[in-house]
């Protein structure tokens, strides 16, 4: 294999694995910027993956490839609805954010696997989707010499969309009034309140956006990587996205870059075989790597990163 082919394989695999993490990490960024800690990203991804899989399995025969793209939207919407639980619990009922998030992570696999068993005659996993997102080549951009082949041939379109969305999020986060308000309720809700900013309203937006993006991330996972739904479809990606968000300092571009890094770690079991010199290493190491790297990165950076000042703090207005 030529070097460009190896690079193309590494990059395209990395991107495939990065896409779900990018979306989910962006979701986490919005939620935590608004002051609601979201450890329930994993649960939101599971719901997104489940709903999108069911959708494609039922509608692919009629809609073809369109079903796969629509399924992403469905995954996002379902994740968004699911995150309502977290929003109500933390914003209205003032529950502890970590506990509420952990509950989401326990409910999601339980409900989704239970429903899978009901829908598919007691089986713990759905049939395989015929019409996944897969990889494709971006026609215009592949003409670019060398880079075109490495970056845009046989690549994951959804990953590129994720990267573009991250850039848009960054712009939105630092330039618009809406997100200035959203960030202010995550930094000092009392101050925001005195300026007439509705704290609950913006926190709802933060959580629901994270639900949408988390569900979307889960759907991408199901539509482009696992191609079905089972209990192991989402296995820690929510937490990796959370780690990426912290590693990226609650910044969309930073989170995106960190997510790509974790995507690379996740793709190691597959691309390891292609990298000369690494191919003889026991593949168990590659499979452990993403989790190990997540733990190490979190241990090193968690203490140092400074998140939003009021992250995880419920705002109780004095009457």
């Amino acid at each position: 294999m030529s070097l460009t082919t190896i690079l193309m394989t590494i990059i395209s695999t990395t991107l495939v694995y990065s896409a779900p993490l990018i979306f989910t990490a962006l979701g986490g960024t919005f939620s935590e910027r608004s002051g609601v800690i979201n450890v329930g990203l994993e649960g939101m991804m599971i719901v997104g993956a489940f709903c999108s899989t069911i959708f494609t399995l039922n509608l692919a025969p009629r809609l073809g490839i369109l079903a796969a793209w629509l399924a992403l939207l469905i995954g996002g919407i379902c994740g968004c609805l699911f995150s309502l639980l977290h929003a109500v619990a933390t914003i209205n009922l003032r529950a502890d954010h970590i506990i509420s998030g952990a509950v989401l992570n326990m409910i999601a696999p339980a409900v989704c696997v239970f429903l899978t068993r009901i829908f598919y005659n007691g089986k713990g996993q759905t049939p395989v989707i015929n019409q996944g997102l897969g990889t494709s080549t971006i026609n215009g951009l592949k003409q670019i010499p060398i880079l075109g082949k490495i970056l845009f041939t046989q690549t994951s379109i959804i990953a590129w969309i994720a990267i573009i969305i991250a850039v848009i999020c960054w712009y939105v986060l630092y330039r618009t009034a809406f997100v200035l308000h959203l960030r202010s309720v995550g930094e000092n809700p009392a101050a925001a309140d005195t300026l007439g900013i509705n704290v609950d309203y913006y926190r709802y937006w933060g959580v629901l956006l994270s639900g949408f993006l988390g569900g979307l991330g889960g759907a991408v996972m199901a539509q482009s990587i696992t191609l079905n739904f089972s209990v192991s479809t989402i296995s820690g990606q929510g937490f990796m996205a959370l780690a990426a968000m912290i590693f990226g300092k609650w910044d969309p571009i930073g989170s995106m870059a960190a997510a790509v890094f974790f995507g690379l770690a996740q793709s190691l079991p597959i691309i390891g075989a292609y990298i000369p010199g690494l191919s003889h290493i026991n593949s168990v190491w590659f499979q452990v790597a993403p989790y190990l790297i997540t733990v190490i990165v979190l241990a090193i950076f968690f203490g140092r990163s400074v998140g939003p000042a009021a992250d995880g703090k419920n705002y109780i207005k004095s009457k």
Binding site: A177, R183, E187, N188, A191, T194, L195, G196, I197
Partner: protein, 515 residues
């Protein structure tokens, strides 16, 4: 006829059983500076929270520009031209000064993109007009407290406030910054803004205010023209009685030795924080320890209360050796301690008043019966103390965090005095409390002395030391470098000694400077 901008009529505000404001009325005109004077907990802040829409009055009327209004939230207040500068600034440290000012009212295009450049221009112009010096691009976390306050003022002006309310604006400022703020007040008033500022510092009122409304226990006592009222008169109206500036001390008879510290050395990371220090406190005397912050006071206090280990030397209380004993041993040997930082060391803020009062005795009968707390006893015990020490609280179940600074200090003093200590150690007991509370605390300390307790007073306030002490020891660099008589020493001499000059050389310096 000058326009009346704000008029509050017969405002009453109740929190449960507590009446915070009782039939309060006040008026402010355009271009006028009104001071609201009152002790901590008198109801000034509650009243202003009502005006700024954070709280709703139980009854009463508010008129803005002669029209009756209902201020149901901060936005309504803002729309009516009322701006509030809170005591604890409502700023976002992670945001820039500019973002903090425009937050909530950003000029933006139809896509929601903020027009930062335009906002900057508007604010620069306003800053010039009102002589407010601001660094718009700096992060609020990085700027001085004085500038943070200017940010708060600009926030209000940016929202076109005509009435500016300041809650204890000088509490955290340096003298220089206070001067600048007073200047700003005058400029704002000359631009026809009305200013209401809450304070318990009479000097500031005399300096800038036109009128002063005095509030006590939730009621308006009087509104006076500041130029026609004396400082003492204002102080008396605030606390409701004549302030006793001269505290009554019975003469000390040299009595039994209570505390005897001999050759005490405390080392920390190999450095001697206290070196061969000797100190005696007898029954019926107040020993003042004067010194510049950081000369070993903290370590001495920690050693005398059992909080830290000592390296060598002895601490005897009534002849009993206590060095390196546990804190409880000190407590049981009848040492009372009023720590310097009441919120960090003196109290557990999230616990109730009753629980805080019980902290020294919760572990034995009658508060504790075989490991079970007797809350019935604890609460009635607390109720007694609340009554006897005049602690202003809704009830003993309130968290101590909800009390004002002066009342929090009273809780500590009540707890430390009630079990009749032989030695009372008080560290800056009046820091950050108002005139009335200061007077009360001083009176209590002298009362204890007159009853034959030994008192060690550590304070950075020279006036306090000189006023209360029978003997003054000067600490410098971990050593006592001299003992002086508070009746004859001047603040100037004492100041020189605190800087490390021995008595003999101080005499010389003072004569030199007098020449």
């Amino acid at each position: 006829m000058v326009q009346t901008v704000v008029e509050m009529q017969h405002i009453t505000k109740k929190f449960g059983n507590l009446i915070a404001n009782n039939d309060v009325s006040l008026k402010v005109h355009q271009g006028e500076i009104l001071a609201l004077l009152g002790e901590n907990g008198a109801g000034k802040s509650t009243l202003m929270s009502i005006l700024s829409g954070l709280l709703q009055p139980t009854s009463g009327k508010i008129l803005i520009n002669d029209r009756i209004v209902s201020i149901k939230d901060p936005q309504t207040a803002k729309a009516l031209g009322i701006g509030m500068v809170h005591q604890h600034f409502m700023l976002i440290p992670a945001f820039s000064v500019l973002e903090n000012i425009i937050l909530g009212d950003e000029p933006h295009n139809y896509l929601g993109k903020i027009k930062y450049i335009q906002a900057k221009q508007i604010i620069k112009q306003m800053a010039q007009r009102y002589h407010l010096q601001l660094d718009l691009d700096a992060k609020v976390a990085d700027i001085s407290v004085g500038m943070q306050q200017r940010v708060e003022i600009m926030k209000a002006l940016y929202r076109k406030a005509d009435v500016l309310i300041f809650d204890e604006p000088t509490a955290a400022l340096t003298p220089q910054e206070i001067k600048e703020l007073m200047q700003t007040f005058r400029i704002l008033a000359s631009e026809n803004k009305a200013i209401i500022f809450i304070t318990h510092k009479i000097k500031e009122i005399k300096e800038v205010a036109d009128y002063c409304t005095i509030i006590r226990s939730g009621k308006v006592i009087e509104t006076v023209k500041v130029s026609q009222a004396g400082e003492e008169q204002l102080a008396e109206m605030m606390v409701g009685r004549k302030l006793q500036n001269n505290v009554q001390k019975q003469p000390v008879k040299q009595q039994k030795l209570i505390l005897n510290v001999k050759q005490l050395t405390v080392q920390n990371n190999g450095r001697s924080k206290i070196l061969n220090l000797n100190l005696q406190v007898h029954q019926g005397e107040i020993v003042g320890l004067a010194g510049v912050d950081g000369n070993g006071q903290e370590e001495l206090l920690a050693a005398l209360t059992g909080m830290n280990k000592v390296t060598s030397g002895s601490i005897q209380l009534n002849g009993q050796e206590l060095a390196n004993q546990s804190v409880r041993k000190f407590v049981e040997s009848k040492v009372g301690y009023v720590p310097e930082d009441r919120q960090a060391e003196g109290l557990i803020l999230s616990m109730s008043v009753a629980e805080n009062l019980a902290l020294k005795e919760y572990y034995h009968a009658p508060m504790n019966h075989r490991g079970i707390l007797n809350y019935k006893y604890i609460n009635s015990f607390a109720q007694n103390l609340v009554k006897n020490y005049g602690i202003r609280t809704q009830n003993v179940y309130e968290t101590v965090a909800s009390l004002s600074g002066g009342n929090q200090q009273k809780v500590i003093i009540a707890r430390e005095i009630q079990n009749n200590p032989d030695l009372l150690i008080a560290a800056n007991p009046t820091r950050g409390v108002d005139v009335g509370a200061i007077e009360y605390i001083h009176r209590k300390i002298i009362q204890e002395r007159n009853q034959g307790k030994g008192i060690l007073l550590v304070s950075f306030e020279l006036d306090e030391i000189l006023k209360l002490s029978d003997r003054v020891m000067v600490i410098h660099d971990g050593q006592i470098i001299g003992e002086v008589d508070p009746k004859t020493i001047t603040a100037q001499k004492l100041g020189l000694m605190m800087a490390g000059k021995k008595i003999g050389s101080v005499q010389q310096e003072v004569t030199k400077s007098e020449l």
